[in-house]
Symmetry: C2
Subunit: 191 residues, 2 copies
């Protein structure tokens, strides 16, 4: 998606260790107009799919998922990273390794909000090694629901997550795929 690639080139910052900071428009400050354009594009890309629910994971996926949901006219469910005392009842659970925070999270979704009737579009801001997505796919499958597709804002194409997900036969659409980036020059190449 040209609009997103241009924005990453303009406002993204490449840091050592393959870190791409997009906190001025994507995952700390959030540009809602950009999210709406992303929502339109996901709707186009998944127009063949019958989707009745969007699933994301806290925290930075939530904003994108809610704006995208308007283009599908469906509710959003977000998976939670730790057990809250307010979140009782039966839970679907999985574990997700976070390399950013160097720890393993328990991730939960209430069984009330994912069932075998659900046709789910998973939305997240980043795809790198794919650990978060594998956890979300596991939650959907353990509910007996169907993953209709996965929509990602930015995929790090030089990491293995995208290939791993696509080899499962899931329709994965990343609006910008970074092929390579260079912290010294700040340059970013897209696929």
């Amino acid at each position: 998606m040209r609009l997103l690639e241009d924005r990453i080139r303009k406002d993204g910052v490449v840091k050592e260790g393959n870190v791409l900071k997009v906190d001025s428009f994507l995952n700390h400050q959030m540009d809602i107009d950009l999210f709406n354009e992303m929502g339109k594009e996901f709707k186009r890309l998944f127009s063949e799919k019958k989707i009745n629910k969007i699933l994301t994971i806290e925290a930075s996926g939530i904003g994108i998922a809610c704006i995208v949901a308007q283009h599908f006219n469906v509710p959003v469910v977000f998976a939670k990273k730790a057990k809250s005392i307010n979140l009782d009842g039966e839970m679907l659970t999985t574990k997700i390794q976070s390399f950013t925070h160097n720890k393993v999270y328990d991730v939960i979704v209430s069984k009330k909000f994912l069932s075998s009737d659900d046709h789910v579009l998973i939305i997240d801001d980043f795809l790198a090694n794919g650990c978060a997505l594998l956890g979300l796919i596991d939650l959907v499958e353990s509910a007996g629901a169907t993953v209709e597709g996965i929509g990602i804002a930015i995929e790090k194409g030089f990491q293995s997550g995208g290939q791993m997900i696509r080899e499962k036969g899931i329709q994965l659409e990343s609006l910008a795929i970074v092929e390579s980036m260079d912290a010294k020059t700040g340059s970013i190449e897209f696929r």
Copy 2:
């Protein structure tokens, strides 16, 4: 706001310990159409205010804030509850006591995204004792920015947060104020 009160009566669940579960439409599964009606109402209530940014706190405030932001045509910034290694640079920090999780969080916002030019509407899903809001107000004030108002979905009117915030002279608008609730009968009275 009658629509939200009706929805709380219909789908909210009162639990022992003054817990009101609204996870089927507000803070786990999210009804985006309802959020848009809330956004319209906040726009009406804050129509006199010049607002150029919405501030919320992860995780459950983010979805509401992003949908509400469309009605003000402004970006959203969400405060983060723990230091991420991807979030470098100078930070505004505060501490927030969570009674739900029984711990104290460090809460941070990048200085890049809150400055003395900003006129901020704070949005969150719940107001009870007001600890989260006091933290967010502290972040805005430490940036030299102005709190133009606070928009809350559900206020627990029998806890002290609302009165404390209103006594500061801040325009606080809660779309539903629960005056009392009863876990035995499931009844909910609104102010």
